[in-house]
């Protein structure tokens, strides 16, 4: 049935078109491994610039002063509100201006973005995830 085949091909084209720009911007949530590289881990020392404490994932920015004196704003993604709270990372811990050391896996896109592994605020370290997979 050629009409059937044509319709099936059309549907397949739509679905494939939806998948083509796979993981190339910092928009999708879910699964660290599709977005962050488990083999490239970094620690960033900086201050919190902004916080979007929300579901399904929390995002915040850290301002980092580089060795040459320039600054880079790093985007940090972490878990859902309930999970972050269960690990001790309540909203009140993430105040703008607070000095932190954030450790996480680098974005596969090469942008200044990490998927959070752990974060140190003052003397406390909150481990949010152990693996990027």
């Amino acid at each position: 049935m050629s009409l059937f085949h044509r319709a099936a091909a059309c549907l397949l084209a739509i679905v494939c078109a939806a998948q083509s720009p796979l993981a190339d911007r910092a928009a999708a949530h879910h699964t660290y491994v599709s977005k962050y590289d488990p083999d490239r881990i970094v620690s960033l020392k900086g201050t919190i610039a902004s916080v979007d404490y929300r579901n399904p994932h929390i995002f915040f920015d850290i301002t980092v002063i580089n060795r040459d004196g320039s600054t880079t704003t790093w985007h940090v993604e972490t878990e859902a509100i309930a999970k972050a709270q269960a690990k001790g990372l309540s909203e009140s811990k993430l105040q703008v201006g607070t000095a932190v050391v954030a450790t996480g896996w680098m974005s596969r896109t090469g942008e200044a973005e990490i998927g959070l592994k752990s974060i140190s605020i003052g003397a406390k370290t909150y481990t949010i995830r152990n693996t990027a997979r």
């Binding site: 059937f4 549907l11 939806a18 998948q19 993981a23 859902a80 709270q85």
Partner: protein, 170 residues
């Protein structure tokens, strides 16, 4: 091309959208409802389509449709409601997401396919019955209707796939 961004931003800024993304448990509850609705929507649809295709041989399509269709509407209502609320919580991202756009297009195509199927099936039942009689519950399942049943399965599988891909593409 219409500029959607101001509208999407207004939806994002609604107090209700702020509650959906900001409250601890609202988002996961809506996600759960979206899965329950999916079950009620997709389950009956695929059973009916398999009946039309002949994979399942009884009961007759018409009473089966009468039994299943209310559950499809309940599932659709649950998913339209939970889906609109989840969409609002991150309207700018969802609006720009190609998988989300594909999902909406596929839902519209699946809905159109179902509407055309119903019109054709109703015509078939009426045409099958002697003049003045009630439509026969055993309308002949023509190749056209079978094609539409197969298309229905493909479109709804496409909706599920596109929906799942929203979290993985940008």
């Amino acid at each position: 091309m219409i500029e959607f961004e101001p509208l999407l931003r207004a939806i994002y800024d609604l107090p209700l959208s702020q509650v959906v993304r900001g409250a601890v448990w609202v988002y996961p509850v809506l996600e759960t409802l979206h899965l329950i609705g999916l079950g009620l929507l997709f389950g009956p649809i695929i059973i009916f389509d398999l009946r039309v295709l002949g994979v399942i041989s009884s009961p007759a399509p018409s009473p089966l449709a009468g039994l299943l269709l209310p559950w499809v509407w309940i599932g659709f209502a649950i998913n339209a409601t939970s889906g609109v609320l989840l969409f609002g919580s991150d309207a700018l991202e969802f609006g720009a997401n190609p998988a989300f756009q594909a999902k909406i297009a596929l839902i519209l195509m699946a809905g159109l396919n179902a509407a055309v199927f119903q019109l054709r099936a109703a015509g078939g039942y009426a045409g099958n019955a002697p003049a003045g009689d009630a439509p026969s519950p055993d309308a002949p399942l023509t190749g056209g209707l079978r094609f539409q049943a197969a298309l229905s399965i493909l479109l709804w599988l496409g909706v599920i796939l596109a929906g799942r891909m929203i979290a993985y593409v940008a």
